[in-house]
Symmetry: C2
Subunit: 435 residues, 2 copies
Amino acid sequence: MQPYDLIFNKRNGGTLQPEEIEALIAGYTQGEGVTDYQMAALLMAIYFRGMNEDELGHWTRAMLHSGVVLEHPEIAGAKIDKHSTGGVGDKVSLSLAPLVAAAGVYVPMISGRGLGHTGGTLDKLESIPGFRTDLPIERFKAQVAELGCAIIGQTGEIAPADKKLYALRDVTATVDCIPLIASSIMSKKLAEGLDGLVLDVKTGRGAFMTELDQARQLAETLIAIGRATGVETVARITAMDQPLGRAVGNALEVVEAIETLRGKGPDDFLDVVLTLSAEMLRLAGVERDHQAALELLQGLIDSGAAFGKLREMVSAQGGDESVLDDLERLPRAKESFDVLAPESGFIHVLDALVVGRTARMLGAGRKAITDAIDPVAGLVLERKRGDGVDKGDRIAILYARDHSLFEPAAHRFLSGLVIGEAPIGEQPLLIDRIA
Amino acid sequence: MQPYDLIFNKRNGGTLQPEEIEALIAGYTQGEGVTDYQMAALLMAIYFRGMNEDELGHWTRAMLHSGVVLEHPEIAGAKIDKHSTGGVGDKVSLSLAPLVAAAGVYVPMISGRGLGHTGGTLDKLESIPGFRTDLPIERFKAQVAELGCAIIGQTGEIAPADKKLYALRDVTATVDCIPLIASSIMSKKLAEGLDGLVLDVKTGRGAFMTELDQARQLAETLIAIGRATGVETVARITAMDQPLGRAVGNALEVVEAIETLRGKGPDDFLDVVLTLSAEMLRLAGVERDHQAALELLQGLIDSGAAFGKLREMVSAQGGDESVLDDLERLPRAKESFDVLAPESGFIHVLDALVVGRTARMLGAGRKAITDAIDPVAGLVLERKRGDGVDKGDRIAILYARDHSLFEPAAHRFLSGLVIGEAPIGEQPLLIDRIA
């Protein structure tokens, strides 16, 4: 395998062969025979030429096998995970993992930290005092086998090829390339040793894929990789035009996720959690009928079983479980600020991207991977799209450590708010299902 | 200037701004702020997206100004150079530079070494004992001012950006990209401080641009850069389906170039030398009428003036001028081998690429830039395309240091030879003129 030949071939629209892809990814990961500049040129050629389903399968498998691939011989039941392409207020994993585990499905979730407007799932969980997301792989596996779920962070052992490739893509403008996005996602998820995977591909202003056709293309590519690698994969395309739920920020979202498992979550958030969880139950063979699965899951919330599973998970991962009973014990901002409706009418637009950036301004997110996150920062929406407001009504409460952040953040927030005179119809949250 | 933004913008089909291009090329050349992998990604994006005339002008100017740009305040007359995209048996510069200088035009020729089937102009000249192609810039300039011509090698002072970019393109499959080829050629040539430039863009089996439409596109791009940078540029597109002239190899080509200036050169080679030289006279304003220029140049050959200028140049650059009077004093192979016609008929194809590779097998060319060249190796064609042959007639004589090279080389040579029964018409050598 000469990297030059692969670049040349791909550049000219050719197809990379399985053994070429394996040698390339292995060589690049080990820093032997494949330089950064050659990989950068190849990635850009892939940006323009794409990869076919065979190539994508081999590419993903090579990334997957660049590190440890988990096996769970001690688990007899189905191992199913969920992945979201990310959005503002997306705390789905926090509620979903214990809920699905409570239904008897095993959820070995390895999650990312990312550079979103708020932290990732790990950052959110870490706002629970003591919660550890850096469990060793063996302990992670044991917890999944015992409790049914665990959520930890990406480790250097899992798909190291992806880490190296992502760092290169990040500085060479080859991040937003569907085959590379899809192989990155799937290589990490498939390394968990899954029987099935549910994808939440978000679309809209606050999503990575702003356009629906892009989101659909990504979903189809992810599913094609699942097919090529023999892991049943289902995608839901969900709306991300406004934030999901009401809380945006790390500890704030933990509160909302906990409340949802106690039956007090916002409707839109609960809807997404239940739908994705039902898909996981279907893949696991626990309940093939969607409606029945939704009822089963709602029952697990109503009975407290899902909340109990969350308690077990928090406790097993070193978290202070008393916060689950007394949410006041979670870190809280001392300062808050009310954003008021500048006019009367109906909320036509509550731009998820703008709300996300507002949260980041308040300290909830990172601009660089080395930035620290403020767990207490963020905002809670009191009104959402479609709601009627009178001038001066409180639309959102901002939270931060530092009062000086409020003025510019409120200004930013309002730049994403459109209030119109006429009432406005609902937009679908669950846009499509691709299997 | 953030390299990321430039990659992103170009990848999306955008236009790079003058100040961005300047900062990029300067940063890359100095190794400050622009990494190899970012440049590799950008080059691949340029491969797919191209550059418009403005961008190309700025890109070339930035490369040009990455190093020394010659000025010739001591020369009142026109400074005109010629560049060829290269072909098999292309020893044009060796005859053309002294010929044009003999007509009163100044020819400051900085030439490449390259990775051709035979050496480049420099390698050919260096087969003249003592000939130095590494004159310091000041001495080069003084020689041009005094004699009218000098031929030296690329120095680190001239367009260092090109050297670094070329090395990167060479390993990232971005060599065969017209805007990058064109800016590379023009940045080095324009650094010579020219008033005009004549381009010999070759097309056919033995050329870099095998297809005529590619050659035309390259010629037009080169001329566009000339326009953007204010240097009048004319291109001739010439055929490279069979080797130019009869000699292929370093010392062998020097012999042919010398004989041409003594009025004994092969017609096709002379035709190209005179045509390109006439274009240079036209750009210099010495003789605007093409036919009159051809006659003037033929007169300079017939009178011995051109040969005399070659003698002055060889002597000024430290070469043993006695070889000009006694060609036997040039290095010569001890071993030779006759390639005979395997059948009777007419030569329909004498594939320039195959002949070039044969010469390289004999030791005349390099595979890697560090390879040594054997000045005596190569071949002389006794028959060319269109010639009638009887079975057993000598078609070529191979020369090498080592007799064991002949068998495989002759085999290779014959693989590029097609003898047909019917006579075959001439193909035009001078295909087009673009100005």
